[in-house]
Structures are given as structure tokens and as C-alpha cells.
């Protein structure tokens, strides 16, 4: 950052370090035993522990979704009572959002990749990182306790006064989410400090991988918005426990104030869920198009712009809640402004593919699916931002379909893309390319079958969170349910071939995709300390027109250096005095 004209260009001696192929010792086997895993401060292992946790919660949330869809096959009761149904949709929402989407990319994939992409040995605060994981686990335990001690039926938004008067363990659940918030805050804090302070020599801000720009923007939202959720849920918990009356109209409070508080966090939280996805898309598109990313700064800054504007649009969840027309006007206008940087990203990605050398491997397939589905999610967002139309569509299935297109069609596809992309790096094993594409195809078909009919139902007036519905919607509901089952099959296939890959997979080379990004310039799986040298960066992570040898430079450090590589020393001008 601190570039002053007087900084002398210092010459440093670097060597080329070709990554060791199929290393005998790597982070997965350098420390052994369950205890070593549970107490590890290694960001890669913590990332994998998160990955297992989010996979577990995705499974739980997914099964709940299938239960809901099955219940909705017919207008009347199938096999759940209304009360059970309400608890199931509440849990589906809460688990998917708080336990899967929010930690999925930042905490699971981000933890694994971020220090690797920076050339750092770890995140800035490894013990804090482990603490974040356990805070997440404690939050999850609270939630599970809540489920088994009465359950909750408020919807994931916990609107007052319903949430302050209904039965069940609302306080336990909100406390769980409150605790979870700290996990999210501390992860964000860790990432910001790591990106600021632990970059390898030569990683200037304009050579930062776009994935890190995405994570940086996400972390900013996490540290600025999550505390507001924390205080909101603390107040709500107190409302339940002590009846403090700030949100409960029966005691003189105001329920709309709760909605303002809640959405001030929860709208930015939507961007916590999607912005890291943008980062992954940029990485994968560039790698599999083998081409310089188009509009690096446009993509990087649009993530920050989205994060910033995201703080100013919470009121668009309340267009029908009786806010003033002026407030509605402002929030509607700002909402549309989010559309511009989002559109810019889509066009930049397309432009990156133009004249590229496109290899349709599974990660790329997921990203193309992302582009299609997320575009639909974006346009339907424009529809919902238009005030007069939103009055009609608010709280209908149209909204349900919209956010599933953004969250599932967007974030989950990006997550799957990222998971396949970094899988060889994580485990040193390849997955089945054939089954990967089959599963992607099945999920694509199933997803659209599930949610396209919901746009139509919603436009026709089908309200969300309905246990019963009038007969005219039955055909749509049934179609949607069948789509959900098909999607379920797709995910089962993914689970099967990934497990197979873990156990019997073919060994992966250090850089199976021919990427120029830093994390691919070390072994697969990496060493416990990521690199056996200090990487030195002179090119951007997307400079596909430059030879690979320029991306494998480093300094052998006395700390952990192994100086037995072929000598290809060269002088690199260190123009910026980067401490890290």
C-alpha cells in the first residue's frame, strides 16, 4: 500500500521452485490422530472441519426441504401437522442460512484457500480461527437443543410479536444464532488482517486474486453487519426471557422496529452469502478459459460496491410493512443500484470467455450454470425492487423462487464449482469428471423444475409459508416437488463420487488445471506450512500469457527452506516495500 517514490527498488535473489509432485508428507498426514485434528490451528484442517460441518448441515437442510416438498404434494395434510410443517420450514431456512450458506464459502473454502493464495503460512490468528470453529459448533449445539426442547415455528426471520409470544424454544435458537454470529465476526476479522498483513512479497493490491477481493468484501460485511444481528437477537432473547417490551406491542414496543433491526443485518447477510461466490466464479472462469480476466478492477471494486450499497437497502424487505412512501422510494432506488455492479460482473465474466481456450471441466460447468441461474435470480430481483410490482409479489412464492435462484442457483453452484476446483488441492485426489458432469446436469434440470413453477405460482398469488393451498396451485406444486427429488438424486451422486475419490481416487498433480494462481504452485495436498519457501510474486494471478516458470518463484528461507531445487535464480525488482 505504502508506495512512496523514494522507496528504493531493492533486488532480491529468487529461485524457481517447482512444486513437489505427489508428496509423501503433507498436511493431512504430518500430524496424526483425532486429537491432533480437533486441536489443530492449521487453516487447511480447520477449513476441512468446516467443510464437513457445512456438508452435514446441507444434508439436514436438504432433507428438511424434501420433507416440505413432499408435504406440499397435495393441498391438504399428507403426513405432517401444520405445527410440524411450520417447524420444518423454519429449520430449513435457519439451518441453510446460518449453518450452511454463511460459513460455506468464507469459512470452509475460504479458510483453506486464503492463506495459500496469499503465500502465507496461516491466517493471522490461527488460534482465533480454531476458536471460531468451536463457537460455530457451540451455536449449532444450541440450535439442536432448541429443536429437541420444543422446536421453533417462527420462520428464520423471527418476526415479533409472533416470536415473542409463540411457544417452543425461540430463546434457545436465537441464542444459538447469536453465538454463531461471533464465529462469523471472528472469521471476518481474521481474514481482513490476514489480507492486509500477511501477503507474500510482491502481492500488491492489484495482484490480489479476485477470490480474495470477494472474501475481503465479505469479511467487511461480516464485521460490520453481524454485530447488529447480535444485538437484535440479544434484545429478542431478552424479550422472551424478561419481556423487556422493546419489540412487543403488547408491552408498548414496536414490531416494525424489529424488522428494521433484523434486515439491517440480514440484507447485508445476503451479500455475505453471494459475494464470496463471485470470487470463486472469477477464479474458475479465468482458469478454464486460460485467459486474463477481463476488467480486473471492475470485478474487484464491484464486490466492494455491492458490499457497501448492500448496507443501504434493508428497507426493501418492508415495502408493504407500512413504512413511509419516502422511505420506500429511497430503498427502492438504492436496490436498483445494486443491480448495476452485479450486471457489470456478469458481462466481465462473459468477456473473459471471449476468445479464450475454454475447457468444460466440472468446475467450469458449475460456473456456467451459475451464470445462467444467477442472471435469472438477478432479473427477478429487479422485478421485486419495482415498488408497485413488489406490492403484488411480496411474501409470495415469487420471492421464494427468487432467493433460491440467487442463493442456490448462485451461491450453491459457485460453492460446488469451488469445491470441485480445489478438491485436488485439498485431498490430492481427482474426482470422476464423467459423474461430475452428469450430476451437474441433473442438478441443473432438477433445480429449474423445482423453482421455475414457483415463479408462476407466486405471480398468481400463492403466499409463502403455506401449509395448505387452494387447488389451482396443485399442478405447480407437484411439478416442483418432482424437481426437488431430481435435485436430491444429483446431490447423492456428488456425495458418492466424492467419497469414492477420497478412498480410491486417482492421484492429482500439483496443478491439474494449469492455473497461474498461487495456491496451485505448491504440492497437492500442500505441506503443513503451505510452501517450502517464501513465494515471490511478479505477475498477476491471471497472466496466462506468461510462462509458468515465472509463477514458481520464491526465496528459500532458513526457517523452513529446502534448498535442493535446480538453480534458476533470477533477480526480481521488489518495487513495493512489502513487509509481508
Amino acid at each position: 500500500m505504502a508506495t512512496t517514490e523514494e522507496t528504493p527498488t531493492r533486488k532480491i535473489q529468487v529461485k524457481r521452485f517447482k512444486p513437489e509432485e505427489y508428496p509423501e508428507k503433507h498436511y493431512l498426514n504430518q500430524e496424526k490422530g483425532l486429537w491432533a485434528w480437533l486441536t489443530t490451528v492449521d487453516h487447511k484442517k480447520i477449513g476441512l472441519m468446516y467443510l464437513m460441518s457445512v456438508a452435514f448441515f446441507f444434508l439436514v437442510g436438504g432433507v428438511l426441504a424434501l420433507l416440505l416438498r413432499t408435504e406440499l404434494l397435495t393441498p391438504a395434510r399428507n403426513f405432517m401437522t401444520a405445527d410440524v410443517y411450520n417447524q420444518v420450514f423454519t429449520l430449513h431456512g435457519a439451518i441453510m442460512i446460518f449453518f450452511f450458506l454463511i460459513p460455506s464459502v468464507p469459512a470452509a473454502l475460504g479458510n483453506f484457500v486464503l492463506p495459500l493464495q496469499l503465500g502465507a503460512k496461516d491466517v493471522a490468528f490461527p488460534r482465533l480461527n480454531l476458536a471460531s470453529f468451536y463457537i460455530y459448533v457451540i451455536g449449532a449445539l444450541f440450535t439442536i437443543t432448541a429443536i429437541f426442547t420444543g422446536g421453533i415455528d417462527t420462520g428464520w426471520t423471527f418476526y415479533t410479536p409472533y416470536s415473542s409470544t409463540t411457544g417452543g424454544s425461540v430463546a434457545m435458537m436465537t441464542l444459538g444464532v447469536f453465538i454463531l454470529g461471533f464465529s462469523s465476526i471472528l472469521t471476518g476479522l481474521n481474514f481482513i488482517v490476514t489480507i492486509h498483513k500477511l501477503r507474500s512479497p510482491g502481492i500488491t493490491w492489484n495482484k490480489l486474486p479476485l477470490n480474495l477481493w470477494g472474501l475481503y468484501a465479505t469479511s467487511l460485511i461480516q464485521i460490520l453487519a453481524t454485530p447488529v444481528l447480535a444485538i437484535t437477537l440479544l434484545l429478542l432473547t431478552m424479550e422472551r426471557v424478561l419481556s423487556i417490551g422493546i419489540f412487543d406491542p403488547a408491552l408498548g414496543g414496536d414490531p416494525v422496529l424489529y424488522q428494521h433491526f433484523f434486515w439491517f443485518y440480514s440484507h447485508p447477510a445476503v451479500y455475505i452469502m453471494i459475494v464470496p461466490g463471485f470470487g470463486i466464479v472469477s477464479e474458475i472462469i479465468s482458469t478454464f478459459s486460460k485467459k486474463v480476466i477481463f476488467g480486473y478492477w471492475a470485478i474487484a471494486l464491484s464486490s466492494l460496491a455491492i458490499a457497501f450499497i448492500g448496507f443501504l437497502v434493508w428497507g426493501h424487505h418492508m415495502f408493504t410493512a407500512g413504512q413511509s412512501s419516502l422511505a420506500n422510494m429511497v430503498f427502492s432506488f438504492l436496490t436498483f443500484l445494486v443491480g448495476i455492479p452485479t450486471g457489470i460482473k456478469i458481462f466481465n465474466w462473459l468477456a473473459t470467455m471471449y476468445k479464450g481456450s475454454i475447457d468444460l471441466k466440472t468446475p467450469m460447468v458449475y460456473i456456467l450454470v451459475f451464470l445462467f441461474l444467477f442472471t435469472i435470480g438477478g432479473f427477478t430481483g429487479i422485478m421485486l425492487g419495482a415498488l408497485s410490482v413488489d406490492v403484488h409479489l411480496h411474501d409470495t412464492y415469487y420471492v421464494v423462487a427468487h432467493f433460491h435462484y440467487v442463493m442456490m442457483g448462485g451461491m450453491v453452484m459457485a460453492f460446488l464449482g469451488g469445491l470441485h476446483y480445489w478438491w485436488p488441492k485439498m485431498f490430492g485426489k481427482m474426482y470422476s469428471e464423467f459423474w461430475g458432469k452428469i450430476a451437474a446436469g441433473i442438478i441443473f434440470v432438477g433445480f429449474n423444475m423445482t423453482f421455475l413453477p414457483q415463479f408462476i405460482m407466486g405471480s398468481q398469488g400463492m403466499p409463502r409459508r403455506y401449509y395448505n393451498y387452494i387447488d389451482q396451485f396443485q399442478a405447480f406444486h407437484q411439478f416442483s416437488t418432482i424437481g426437488a427429488y431430481i435435485m436430491g438424486v444429483g446431490f447423492v451422486i456428488i456425495a458418492a463420487y466424492l467419497l469414492h475419490s477420497l478412498l480410491r481416487g486417482e492421484k492429482a498433480s500439483s496443478n491439474p488445471w494449469g492455473s497461474r494462481a498461487l495456491e496451485w504452485q505448491t504440492s497437492s495436498p500442500p505441506d503443513l506450512h503451505n510452501f517450502k519457501h517464501t513465494p515471490v510474486i511478479i505477475n498477476g494471478p491471471y497472466d496466462y500469457h506468461k510462462p509458468m516458470s515465472e509463477f514458481q518463484l520464491g526465496i528459500a528461507t532458513p526457517h523452513n527452506g529446502h534448498g535442493h531445487h535446480e538453480e534458476e535464480g533470477m533477480d526480481v525488482a521488489e518495487t513495493e516495500k512489502e513487509k509481508a
Binding site: V123, I192, V193, I231, M238, I246
Partner: protein, 219 residues
Amino acid sequence: MSGTSATIEKRLDHLQHHFIDSDQQFESAKLGMWIFLATEILFFGGLFAAYIVYRSWYPELYIQASTELNTFWGAINTGVLIGSSLTVAMAIRSAQLNQIKGLIYNLYITIALAFVFMVIKYFEYTHKFHLGIYPGEYYTFEGIAHEKANIFFSIYYMMTGVHGLHVLIGIGLMIWLVFKAKKGAFHSGYYTPVEITGLYWHLVDIIWIFLFPLLYLID
């Protein structure tokens, strides 16, 4: 601090493996703490927002209800916290100068002042409970002719309660610092925990400086 003079023996046992040098570690910790303070401000910001909203709706309630708060003890507490901020700053100064005894004494004084604050707070709370001024539903006091009086005190209890919790956490942190200091963990080359705890303590102090006039001094 990186200027290694001959008199100061450079000790590196505190340096964690993933940092290049002490400076990088120190700066990372400090940046981390500043970011944490930002989240703290937003955390309290939610309470301040609730305060502002209700005050703009019921300005007369705030004027009436604040008379129930004891300005004298509130002012004393403000003085106590400002004093403790001073001593914590002196503790950091002592650490920088390698005066470990001074560090420990200053931490002791800070802890004592924090306890004084909590004790005064305890008497303020019990006095109100005695009058029947409980939060929300349990509010039974009849001295204020306003139907939303319970909400003012809900906000009062939430704000001062959460702040009090922060004071308690601060006490815990400083006791931990004393233990570490006695073991000789800190010296002029490494006093990061003292520095960032000090930052935290200043924040706790500043929040009280906002709470005091907002709650006690409404005319």
C-alpha cells in the same frame, strides 16, 4: 520497536511461526483489535439506535424518567472509568519502558477502579429494584406518569447491562495480564496483549462517556 539497541535483549519466544517478525505480529494484532472495536461499536450501535428511535417518539418520557437516575453516582462512575483509562495507558507505558513492576501496579489500580464502578452500579440497580423499577413486564414503579416508562428502563438496563458485562470481561482480561506479567511474559519487545487490552478498555470507557449524558443528563 524493531530498533535493536544493545541494552535490550531481543527475545523471540513470543513470535508465532507464521509471522516473519515481531513487528508484523504486533501490527496484525493491533489491526485485529481495531476491527474488533469497530464491531463492538456497531454492536452498541444497535442499542443506541433503539434509544434514539424511542427518544424521538417519546421525548417527554426520557425527560421524566431520567430524573429517576442518580446523576451524582453516575458522575462518580464516569470519573472512575476515566481514571482507569489513564492507569491502563500508564500500564502500557510501563511495559514499553520494561518496568514490569509498574505494569503490574497499574493493572491492579485499573482492576480496582473497575470493581468500584461495578459496585456503584450494583447499588444503583438494587435501589431501582427496590422501587419496583424492573425491565419491561415486571415494571411496577408508579412514580412516572407515562405508559411507556417500562421501555425507557428496558433500554437503560440493556445498555448499562451490556456495558457492565464488558467491564467484567475487561476485569477478567486484566487479571490474566497480571498473571502473565508476573511470569515475565512481557517486555519492551513484546507487550501486544497489554496494548490491545488497553485499546479494549478505552472503548469500554468511551461507551460509558456516551451512556452517561444520554441516560442521566437529560433536561
